[in-house]
């Protein structure tokens, strides 16, 4: 704010300053003042970024350290040579985690669970959202309020009954058990409904006149138009299931073949909890793919996650 005003004052004063030495000096002082505020601003921004990204930085640094040196805080080698660096750093931790502890399997499981769940949940939410946006049907309002009411319930409350129901269905420690109970994404339905309401009715009417079936209207008109929001919802549900730790923890057996990355890491931390270099290399397998996904599609993530919130 103040920077703006100074800018304006600057431009007004420039003409006068050319002659007047006093004004000239004042202008110079202003310039320095501005430089100082700018540097303070950038310093604070950098400190903020450092604090926020510190855990990631620390994870990567520790993952590359020599075994047993997690608590030795020397990061700069004595000599900038291969020997100097290899005294401090190594990539063996990654190899070990990869080879001995089967994190690749956990990784693939996580991919399977998260992508299957995201595909189905997005499809279901898309279909339901379309109906809520564009159709009039019996019990619509009742259903809508039921969804709103259910959304207010804290997720932890579902832990026990969902677990009991899933076990009774015989889905304990199976992919179905991991995926299916979380496929009803109410938030996603609202997101879809909100977006699809902006699709003009005339398009749908025109398609109807051309003899399109309901399913054709949905797949040919609605889905392509809603593509941005579908991608957003897909990414958000993928993210949710990638880190849906508590459900994946309770619904699988320890040592099961279908453990996902966070749960695998949780069981890994039991016997290897003090081997922080290994723990951190294993953590990289969970975090780095997600970080890359975020960097590639960050606008989808940021808008998807915050838009729903502001509406509240």
């Amino acid at each position: 704010m103040s920077a703006n005003n100074e800018n304006k004052n600057n431009s007004q004063a420039v003409a006068a300053a050319a002659e007047d030495p006093v004004l000239k000096a004042k202008l110079l002082a202003m310039k320095y003042n501005r430089l100082i505020t700018r540097s303070i601003l950038y310093f604070l921004l950098a400190v903020g970024a450092l604090v926020v990204l510190f855990p990631l930085l620390w994870m990567i640094l520790t993952a590359m350290k020599q075994p047993g040196t997690a608590f030795k805080f020397t990061f700069i080698p004595d000599s900038f040579s291969y020997e100097g660096f290899s005294k401090l750093y190594t990539l063996d931790n990654f190899k070990k985690v990869f080879a001995e502890f089967n994190f690749m399997k956990y990784f693939i499981n996580s991919i399977i669970v998260a992508s299957m769940a995201a595909i189905f949940a997005t499809t279901f939410a898309c279909m339901a959202g379309y109906v809520f946006a564009k159709k009039n049907f019996i019990y619509k309002d009742f259903l809508f309020y039921l969804l709103v009411a259910t959304m207010m319930i804290p997720g932890m409350m579902y832990l026990v009954p969902q677990f009991v129901i899933t076990v009774k269905l015989g889905w304990f420690d199976t992919y179905q058990g991991l995926i299916i109970p979380h496929l009803a994404n109410i938030f996603g339905v609202f997101m879809m409904r909100q977006f699809m309401r902006s699709i003009p009715d005339s398009l749908i009417e025109a398609a109807k006149l051309d003899g399109a079936s309901e399913w054709q209207i949905f797949t040919v008109i609605i889905v392509p138009m809603a593509m941005p929001i579908i991608v957003t919802l897909f990414l958000l549900t993928f993210l949710f299931h990638w880190s849906n730790f508590i459900w994946q923890l309770v619904i699988t057996k320890p040592g099961s073949a279908i453990l996902t990355i966070p749960v695998g890491l949780a069981y890994f931390s039991g016997p290897h909890g003090s081997e922080w270099e290994l723990m951190m290399s294993a953590s990289c397998f969970s975090i780095i793919p997600m970080a890359i996904l975020f960097l590639v599609a960050q606008n989808f993530f940021i808008e998807g996650m915050t838009k729903g919130a502001v509406k509240e």
């Binding site: 026990v160 009954p161 975090i287």
Partner: protein, 386 residues
Amino acid sequence: MAKASTQSQENKVSYLFLAPFLIIFLVFLAYPIVYSFFLSFQEAGTGYSLSSLEWVGLKNYFNLFTDIEFLWAVLMTFYYAILIMPLGILASLILAILLNNKISFKNFFRSAYFLPNVLDMFVIGTIWTLIYSKDGIVDKFIKLVFDFFTYDFLGNLTNSFFISLFTMFTQGVCYGLVLFFIYKIYTSFPMSRYVKNEKLAHMLDILVYGVAFVLVFGSGGLLGGASKVLGSAVNNGVLGTPATCMPAVVFALVVKGAGFGMILFLAAIQNISEAVYEAADIDGCNEIQKFFYITLPLVKPIIFFMAVTGIIGALNAFTEIYAMTKGGPIVTVLGKSLGATKLTGYYLFTKWEQSEFGYAAAMSYALLVLTIVISKVQEKVLTPED
């Protein structure tokens, strides 16, 4: 007749489209709430298996309200919420205000601040466990700070005069900075603004800012107390000490989640018209006054939203506790050993672990009622009246 048939056709089509979602919703979201209600009147009998549930009436609820561990968990959940709400709001607001300037690399900073939001909570918790652990980086840093603030420069005067002088000087700078901030706040909000009587206003000035001064500088005050608390954490690591474990967990979460609130605040701040600030400039407001009288009231809806989600988040908190403290460290209250970070979510999980499904269901219901009550109260207190 024709209209009725198109309506029934529409109903049919609608429910066909709804079917996949609705089936999952009914089986795994709606039914569990009803089922949970019945479950809360039952108890797993011999062997604690699901096949041997017995009807026990209101027993679970009676046990729940006399269960000190549960009441403690509720208390700790409030503590957690009370810590995380203002800190989260403050951190997000600061980041938003910093980003709301004309800067280069704006997108870089925005993504950097938001990035931790999308990362797996369990893994982030594990990383913080390493950072906080005994002999970890935070532990080392705290030892340094503790040595610094408790350095007895009079006692060491003879040993190394210049080191003492240096410590005295840097301490002076630290205290001076805090003093400067108190003074700044005083000049922005003198009591004469709120109280007509001038003498009374001066007395109130002395009283309020004097108390603030004593609270910060007095022995056992903010600075001394903080360094003492930090110092006591040195022996067990930050997460192993009852006084510091909760703030440490909360700090990790605030750092992870600040980018989310930042985006919300940024959108709200950018909606504020530049003209309002210019008018304030003409009236001679300083930056602090502009913040409190213009920015803050206009971002109030976001603050309300974050307060509500803060409470829900506290009741849902599990993964961070599981990753970082597993409910510990143990504190003894009223002769009972209780976990200092055993929040309701984690307590619920331990009951699940012990296969006490009925008890856990009863607890879920009690927490649900609590959530509804709290959000109603928050709505009353925090909603702007306009």
